[in-house]
């Protein structure tokens, strides 16, 4: 069993299933424990020599009824209890995803995808197992256990008490060894992960290894890891084996004790003390009751293991679900349409949870319809500057305005609708090209998708694919080049038909001719739209209306290329540095004339 504020509701929601399952379990347990008694009485009658065939037939009929009840009961509890576990897992997973969708980039930066995935897979799994196993074991242990014990007590109190000592010891040993096993299991997993990681990396870098003739050295490293893996395996298996043997031996031992003491009691009953009333049938009953106790006992020690995993998993899942949603509408002002006039006013920005300012004292105005270039060295804050527009982070009040309204007071959805965004990493979904381009408008007709693909100069490439716009990208589909990805990503942003288009260093992987076409198309597409273009090279932006030159989180200057060139030393340096490379070309140009 596992409890917690995100789980308790399921006990209520699925109460009918859980109760049904529990009832089925009780029926199964009850029916199961009827068998030893019938068997015992037959044995007794046989020994006393007075078994009637009528009674035998009566018992057979009962057996059939028991079989039917057991079938239905077992079917019912499996379907209800395990089924509930599956439903709980699915629902929790859905909740996790919905919550994740609302979390800000701060969370996603802090938590690696691998770690998040573990929540969705291993942790949810552990919770489901704890949930299902928990109910099952609880009912079984409580009902089957106490009923069997009760029957045993009824036959002979002393013998039952005597047996409970080794049983208790067995459960204890199981618990202790199980704990060791868990630790060793983790060590074994770790060793296997090491082996996998090493092999993965080694094969990925095989060209380097060959180039430097390090195959032999790598084999030695591999051998070490391989050996460690084998050793960790043997250690784990030793504990598993030990547990198995301890349990089997204890069961046999208990069996012998039972037979020994039982026989003693039978002899006593038959000779000196008939009031003990212990028959051969009682002995067989006892053996059967005892064997039906083995499973709930094992299950309890197993549950203790699973439960501690489940609890740890629940803690992690709770941490995600408790993660506050920090980017929310807060009494937003109602606006019909946003035009896209952008004003940064004395804006400072540090990523949440950090102290160092990545943007300092930013003042900038971008009017609707302007073409603005942003340039500066890697890490100067270009990307952050545009990310703020998308309301990916919360800002201090009165530092960033759209159409004169504080961005913090605008509805988030409306703000994001304003922008067409082409990210630096050209992230695409493994879906069809059509769906990727029409990402913002699901029902966009093919014609329109084609139009935007053409604008991004990728239509030609797409039409070369066998399935054209229905080509599935990514893992199992066709792999496309970085340049094609960038252009599909541009088409996706254009297809949103945004008022403001943001390109974050988005045309670096295409050749110059394509770049030229795209930029020309953009000019045509632009009309009264705003374009914000982040670039690495001055040449990419030098003809735009306005260039924002950034360094170290500050805007050092805003103006045309010529203005910046005339006024800002660092900008001149940047231009000179980039020209250096082209010197050859200049020299060649002279020779040409």
């Amino acid at each position: 069993m596992i409890f917690g504020k995100y789980i308790n509701r399921y006990y209520l929601r699925y109460l009918h299933l859980i109760l049904l399952g529990a009832a089925a379990l009780v029926v199964v347990d009850y029916a199961q424990l009827l068998i030893p008694d019938y068997q015992g009485s037959i044995v007794d009658s046989l020994i006393e020599g007075n078994l009637s065939m009528d009674y035998l037939r009566h018992v057979m009929l009962r057996f059939l009824m028991i079989a039917a009840a057991m079938f239905i009961g077992r079917f019912a509890w499996r379907v209800t209890i395990f089924g509930t576990g599956v439903r709980v897992e699915a629902d929790l997973r859905d909740r996790l995803f919905v919550h994740s969708e609302k979390l800000s980039q701060t969370y996603f930066h802090k938590n690696k995808v691998g770690a998040q995935m573990a929540l969705y897979t291993n942790d949810l799994n552990a919770i489901r197992e704890t949930f299902g196993m928990g109910i099952l074991t609880l009912v079984d242990a409580l009902f089957l256990g106490s009923l069997a014990l009760y029957y045993m007590f009824r036959i002979n109190v002393m013998l039952t008490l005597l047996l409970s000592i080794p049983m208790f010891l067995m459960a204890l040993a199981g618990g202790i060894i199980g704990k060791f096993m868990r630790v060793k299991f983790q060590e074994r997993q770790k060793a296997f992960e090491n082996l996998s990681d090493f092999t993965q990396e080694n094969f990925s870098g095989l060209s380097v290894i060959k180039a430097f003739v390090k195959e032999g050295k790598e084999l030695l490293s591999f051998r070490k890891i391989n050996k460690d893996n084998a050793e960790k395996n043997v250690i784990f298996l030793r504990y598993a084996n030990l547990l198995y043997v301890v349990i089997l031996v204890t069961i046999n031992l208990i069996g012998f004790i039972l037979i020994g003491i039982g026989s003693y009691l039978i002899i006593k009953t038959n000779t000196t003390n008939p009031e003990i009333g212990f028959s051969v049938g009682d002995l067989t009953r006892f053996v059967s009751y005892f064997s039906s106790l083995v499973w709930p006992m094992m299950a309890i020690s197993q549950l203790i293991n699973i439960r501690s995993q489940g609890k740890a998993s629940y803690k992690r899942i709770k941490a995600l679900l408790d993660e506050p949603i920090d980017i929310v509408d807060n009494n937003p002002v109602q606006v019909k349409v946003l035009r896209g006039e952008i004003t940064y006013r004395n804006l400072n920005f540090a990523y949440p949870g950090t102290d160092s300012l990545v943007l300092k004292d930013i003042n900038l105005e971008i009017k609707p319809g302007e073409s603005v270039g942003i340039i500066g060295r890697t890490g100067c804050g270009k990307t952050t500057l545009v990310d703020l527009l998308l309301r990916l982070y919360n800002l201090e009040e009165n530092t960033l305005f759209i159409d004169g309204i504080d961005i913090m007071r605008l509805p988030i959805k409306q703000v994001r609708d304003l922008f067409g965004y082409v990210p630096q990493d050209n992230f695409l979904f493994s879906d069809t090209i059509h769906n990727n381009i029409a990402f913002a408008h699901e029902s966009m007709p093919e014609e329109e998708v084609k139009h935007y693909a053409a604008l991004a100069d990728v239509a030609g490439n797409i039409e070369e694919f066998t399935h054209q716009y229905q080509t599935v990208l990514g893992e199992r589909g066709v792999t496309v080049s970085g340049g094609q990805k960038q252009r599909i990503s541009i088409a996706r942003a254009l297809a949103k038909d945004p008022k403001v288009l943001i390109l974050d260093d988005s045309i670096s992987a295409v050749d110059s001719k394509t770049e030229e076409t795209i930029l020309a198309n953009l000019q045509e597409f632009k009309k009264d739209r705003t374009i914000i273009l982040i670039a690495h090279r001055v040449s990419s932006i030098q003809n735009l209306d306005k260039i924002v030159f950034m360094d170290n989180g500050r805007i050092l200057g805003v103006g045309t290329h010529e203005e910046l060139l005339a006024n800002i030393k660092l900008y001149q340096d940047l231009v000179d540095l980039q020209k250096l490379e082209e010197q050859v070309e200049v020299a060649e140009g002279d020779a040409h004339e």
């Binding site: 044995v43 078994l51 499996r78 089997l248 965004y421 490439n461 770049e515 070309e585």
Partner: protein, 616 residues
């Protein structure tokens, strides 16, 4: 288009050849034979384990006989406690022996299994480690890794679980049957009457449940693929306001998982109770017929018969079910074995000739004599290429994508063998030089710089303990890498994450330079990166390149004008042929293909401008 698109095309071809084969090509016999070969060195351990196992099985099945014995004893008139106690002491001793044999046989098996596993794993690893470039390219890395890790694990299961359980279950069943037959033949047959049904239904159930299980696994992997993609791309979903749509897509997959899981539960919910019903039916048969027998015989037959049969009937269920299951497990294990053997059966592609020689020193003369080369039969990449590079010269190869320039570099280090012609180093055919000797004299700087996770220092020394930190620092100093390294918090001990993701492509390039010169090559080959590198690092790289040209003979596939300019000689390639050669000035003056390429190149470097066509 770009180089990337070329690799894309290559991948597609590979994917077509690697469609998963469901049909096994090797026969069970062949696979078993090869598996036995690995087992042979440890055969006596296995024999010992099997002998011990037979003792252990006795321990497993002793209880009903003892119970029966006790009951018989109790029915005799001279039933005494002493006899019972003796019986129990014997039983106790048997149990202790059983515990020891059970424990030791399992451990012997497992330890031996691990040894075999280690050996196979090492064999597979070493085989792949020595794959030729072509062989590596034929297989996705993930698949090769799986061969070393998971498939070998499945093989281990085969040795330690599947085979052994098969034997154990067969013996257990046999022993129980023998005991039953000894006690009472008729009752034995009655008890066994339903067992074939148990076996058959288990067998078919496992077939069926595997399918259900596969469906669950499939839905899990679909769900995980979706999650890992969408968790990393959440920014895009949020920026495009598409949370709802993505949630719907997620829900669809989540439901698919839920339904397949529920189905699988349903399947088990039918099968498990069915087996239980068979169990009760068997119990009924035993109870009814042995009781009837006893009654009919007028109570001359012993009651212990009933107890023994009743208990053994229950004991037969597990091994029979497991036996049925193990046939399926065997199939899975054989499939893994076949995949491993397929790797081990790859022909040795590029290996030392028997008469290959060790080269102590290389001066650095390189000569191509009428070299013809193709990756695919009859699709010639290089056609009759001849050139000669003298010691310490720097040569640049230029040409469009697909002209064969990168291929030339990979032929010098024998990543591939040529079909016609000869490649000579210091006048010796490279096929006559030991691979290790050849490659260790040639410093290769590849286009995509691969960094291993570890530290900067470990990436430069490539884990060679004999390299001192001073040497590493010197190398970095020499190639201008020390500047950025010394700014890092941990300097040379700075962590390099998987694939060096925490370093820019320019920085990675500098690190690869340092790595190369540290290993003191006489010949350097460089496939220049095409990626955008920030201007400052670019200057450092160019400066460092100039220095390296003095170390030895240098061959560069060049993309940058300044690099080309510094070469002593330029070879222009087109469709696998050298069409022009000379110095930069000579070639420009000549006004041929080079000049065209050159102009395109210059334009690319200048262009990246929205509407700049203002060439004066």
């Amino acid at each position: 288009m770009s180089k990337k698109e070329k690799t894309t095309k290559k991948k597609k071809i590979v994917e077509m050849t690697e469609t998963e084969q469901n049909e096994r090509k090797m026969s069970d016999g062949v696979i078993t034979k090869r598996l036995l070969k690995y087992l042979m060195p440890y055969i006596w351990y296995f024999v010992l384990a099997l002998v011990l196992m037979i003792f252990a099985i006795f321990g497993d099945i002793i209880l009903p006989v003892l119970l029966g014995g006790a009951i018989d004893l109790l029915q005799t008139p001279d039933a005494s406690l002493t006899k019972i106690i003796i019986l129990m002491i014997v039983a106790l001793m048997i149990t202790l022996i059983y515990a020891v044999t059970e424990y030791s046989q399992t451990m012997i098996l497992q330890k031996t299994g691990q040894k075999i596993l280690m050996q196979i794993r090492e064999d597979v690893f070493w085989k792949i480690e020595n794959f030729s470039t072509a062989q590596v390219n034929q297989n996705p890395i993930g698949r090769l890794v799986t061969r070393v890790t998971n498939d070998t694990n499945a093989l281990n299961d085969l040795y330690t679980k599947v085979f052994v359980n098969l034997i154990r279950n067969v013996f257990t069943i046999l022993f129980i049957i023998v005991i039953m037959l000894v006690v009472d033949v008729k009752m034995a047959l009655i008890t066994l009457s339903l067992m074939p049904l148990v076996g058959l239904s288990s067998f078919f159930f496992h077939r069926y449940s595997r399918k259900a299980h596969r469906r669950v696994r499939h839905s899990v992997s679909r769900l995980n693929a979706f999650l890992s993609e969408n968790l990393s791309g959440m920014k895009i979903t949020q920026v495009f306001n598409q949370e709802k749509k993505k949630h719907n897509e997620f829900r669809e997959r989540n439901n698919e998982w839920k339904n397949s899981s529920l189905r699988s539960i349903l399947l088990f919910a039918i099968f498990r109770p069915s087996i239980y019903v068979l169990f009760i039916l068997t119990s009924m048969l035993v109870l009814y017929f042995s009781s009837k027998q006893i009654v009919d015989s007028n109570y001359t037959i012993k009651v212990s018969t009933l107890v023994i049969f009743y208990n053994y009937a229950g004991m037969l269920f597990n091994p029979i079910q497991q036996l049925a299951e193990s046939f399926n497990a065997l199939q899975a294990g054989f499939a893994s074995s076949e995949r491993i053997f397929e790797i081990l059966d790859y022909p040795d592609d590029i290996v030392d000739n028997p008469d290959a020689i060790e080269l102590e020193e290389i001066k650095g003369d390189i000569e191509f004599q009428h070299v013809w080369f193709s990756y695919e039969p009859n699709e010639w990449i290089l056609k009759d290429v001849s050139f000669k590079v003298n010691t310490k010269e720097t040569v640049a190869f230029v040409g469009a994508t697909g002209s064969g320039k990168t291929t030339i570099l990979s032929l010098i280090v024998r990543n591939y063998d040529i079909q016609k012609g000869r490649i000579l180093i210091d006048g010796i055919d490279i096929k006559k030089i030991k691979l290790s000797s050849l490659r260790s004299k040639i410093g290769q700087m590849l286009q995509d710089v691969f960094l291993f996770s570890g530290t900067i220092a470990s990436n430069i020394s490539l884990n060679d303990e004999t390299v001192t930190m001073d040497e590493i620092k010197q190398a970095c100093e020499y190639v201008n890498a020390s500047k950025f390294i010394e700014k890092l918090p941990n300097q040379y001990e700075e962590e390099v994450r998987e694939r060096g993701n925490n370093f820019s492509s320019g920085q990675r390039q500098l690190l690869s330079f340092a790595r190369t010169i540290l290993h003191k090559p006489s010949i350097l080959i460089l496939d220049e990166a095409t990626a955008n590198i920030d201007t400052e690092t670019e200057v450092l790289i160019q400066d460092s390149l100039k220095k390296m040209m003095n170390i030895g003979t240098m061959l560069i596939v060049a993309h940058r004008l300044s690099t080309i300019q510094h070469a002593d000689k330029i070879y222009v390639l087109r469709l696998g042929k050298i069409i022009e050669s000379g110095t930069h000035q000579e070639l420009i003056a000549k006004g041929g293909h080079y000049k065209e390429l050159y102009e395109l190149q210059s334009q690319k470097q200048k262009m990246q401008i929205p509407k700049n066509n203002n060439h004066h």
